[in-house]
């Protein structure tokens, strides 16, 4: 037993053990780092496979020496509790750490040190690294699609206006606060639609008409996501309430609606909206493809929203309904003042989830010929002058989508914190 136990520290000698253990881990780290960055093998004197395993073994012994149930040292306890609970976890910790270190130099050199950004044609990209020139040259296309370059200010202005209008709620006077929901659910979308219609589409006020087929890039991602988000939420709320209604007609309509839209893939919905739907319309009736797509996605996502909101409604105790009813509130007053404020607060994480999925689903509209950010990438990578840069494009798009989605989830955490009251 002594031989096994000599690596085990106790509370008296933990200090020496942890220092010695740290030194061992440090040596293993130095070995891996020098191997990865300087391409020198410090342990070349060791035979064959032992060289590769050397840092792992050393690190494991080091972590083993530091492992103790309770030492009183905060950092050490935190380490032991989270990543060093047993030999297997210690091994995983080391493997992950070493893999990251090993992967760092090649990815860094590809993305930064060997990359090109100067010039404005493919010829400028001579290095072995990434060709950011490609992103630079195509940047406007990725942002605005095929929208004419000289009119890009129209898109920018429209977005600034829409965002500014969105902040109106923050500056509303106290006595107007009760109209806040009305503003965001009805007035704001209408104004936003008008702004986008007159500024981006143009056709009046001396602005040249730009058809929606030319719209594209990140701005189209924003337009589609924006309208789908603000419409699908109230619609989902209506169907969530409808599904819980006592009136059979309303209840079964809601169930049919939700089950229908949840049962079809989004891609078929998009095809239907752009290919099949116009066939059923009278000949002189025209509805823009973009509008049809937005309506399709809205109806689709509303079904998901409805189920998320219904989850929140169901989690409220029956007593809340009883109390509201006993105070003489009818169905709508009860829901508006008592039930929905509590239920919606509960479903913020779920709604954020649905909205994030929606934003990330927008690239699907490429299948009906609308090229938002990911769609523009697909077009750009097949451009004969710029073949072979798909990787750069997708990394660029991933970063942009990640920023958007991360901002959204951060915002949802803020909302959660803001509306948190003690129960």
């Amino acid at each position: 037993m002594q031989t096994i136990n000599f690596l085990k520290p106790n509370r008296d000698n933990i200090k020496n053990y942890s220092i010695f253990g740290s030194v061992l881990i440090l040596i293993s780290l130095i070995d891996v780092i020098s191997n990865a960055f300087l391409k020198t093998n410090l342990t070349s004197f060791l035979p064959g496979s032992l060289t590769t395993l050397f840092p792992l073994i050393l690190g494991l012994i080091g972590l083993n020496m530091m492992r103790i149930d309770y030492s009183g040292n905060k950092t050490l306890d935190l380490l032991n509790k989270n990543i060093n609970t047993n030999n297997f976890n210690a091994l995983l910790t080391l493997l992950i750490l070493f893999s990251i270190i090993k992967a760092l130099p090649p990815s860094l050199s590809w993305m930064i040190f060997d990359a090109n950004i100067s010039g404005d044609s493919k010829d400028a990209c001579t290095g072995t690294g990434a060709c950011w020139t490609y992103i630079k040259v195509w940047f406007r296309r990725f942002m605005y699609g095929m929208y004419p370059n000289e009119f890009h200010w129209r898109i920018n202005t429209a977005f600034i206006l829409v965002i500014a209008l969105g902040f109106v709620g923050y500056f509303m006077k106290e006595n107007l606060k009760k109209y806040l929901a009305l503003y965001y659910v009805i007035i704001y979308p209408v104004i936003a639609y008008l702004v986008i219609y007159y500024l981006i589409s143009g056709g009046s006020f001396g602005l040249q008409w730009v058809e929606t087929g030319a719209w594209g890039g990140l701005s189209l991602t924003f337009i589609v996501s924006f309208f789908c988000l603000i419409f699908c939420f109230p619609l989902g709320m209506i169907f969530a309430l409808g599904r819980r209604s006592n009136l059979p007609v309303i209840k079964y309509i809601s169930i049919c609606y939700i089950e229908f839209w949840r049962g079809v893939p989004l891609i078929t919905v998009l095809f239907m909206s752009s290919v099949m739907f116009p066939m059923f319309l009278p000949e002189d009736f025209f509805m823009d493809k973009l509008v049809r797509v937005i309506i399709a996605i809205t109806l689709f996502e509303a079904a998901y929203c409805a189920e998320v909101i219904r989850g929140g409604l169901q989690s409220l105790p029956r007593g809340q309904y009883d109390a509201a009813k006993s105070l003489g509130m009818g169905y709508w007053k009860m829901h508006i003042f008592v039930i929905l404020p509590q239920a919606l607060k509960l479903v913020i994480p779920g709604i954020a989830n649905t909205f994030l999925a929606l934003v990330k689903d927008t690239p699907l509209i490429f299948v009906v010929g609308l090229a938002e950010l990911a769609g523009m990438l697909a077009l750009a990578k097949t451009n004969p002058k710029w073949l072979g840069f798909a990787m750069e494009g997708y990394i660029f798009a991933s970063i942009i989508f990640w920023i958007i989605c991360y901002a959204m989830s951060k915002y949802s955490y803020n909302l959660e914190a803001k509306y948190k009251t003690e129960r």
Partner: protein
Amino acid sequence: MSDPIIKIQNMNKWFGDFQVLKNINLEVEANKKIVVCGPSGSGKSTLIRCINRLEEHQEGNIIVDGNELSEKTKDIEKIRAEVGMVFQQFNLFPHLSILDNCTLAPIWVKKMPKKEAQELALDQLKKVQIDDQANKFPGQLSGGQQQRCAIARALCMQPKIMLFDEPTSALDPEMIKEVLDAMVSLAKGGMTMIVVTHEMGFAKEVADEVIFMDEGMIIEKADTKEFFANPKSDRTKLFLSQIL
């Protein structure tokens, strides 16, 4: 003798196949205080929930303040506004402050101006001695304070009848007293009250009549003194011997 404010005739109620209330006949005159007691599962809560139509009855009539409660009743909200109710679990609205809990219904149901509603609410909160907690949220209050707030909230609707559904059953012994005190002072103010409770001390102090229920039936209905001094049925005697 004036017309009874609550009149229940031959009322039967089922939950599925199970009959919870059997042939209930009850008349309550204005300003009377009735205490309903009995073992759990005897249908006491269901009975008073029927008076508020939080539960529907299948047979018989319930007439509250001259309005019959049935599926055809159109303005059930109006009748409910006249009947205040206090629940075992308080059921305050956790997302609203104490003051907003009290003003919500007066403002939106009774269309009272906000300022007037707030004055009324503060007045009622003062009567139950929690006006200093008006801006806190329910989660920050003790159980007794929450229940007193629930009483104030119901009173803000200026109801004609108050129903209490085991208002002290979810409370610590220390807090029971403060809630009972609030109820006693309300009773002395002349409110019509129907109270489901196991607090026999409270029954002796304020009740005009005591009703004993078991297995969905009204076993005994008598004046308070009579009820405690010489109960008629054996079931009542057994119950009282266990509870007192």
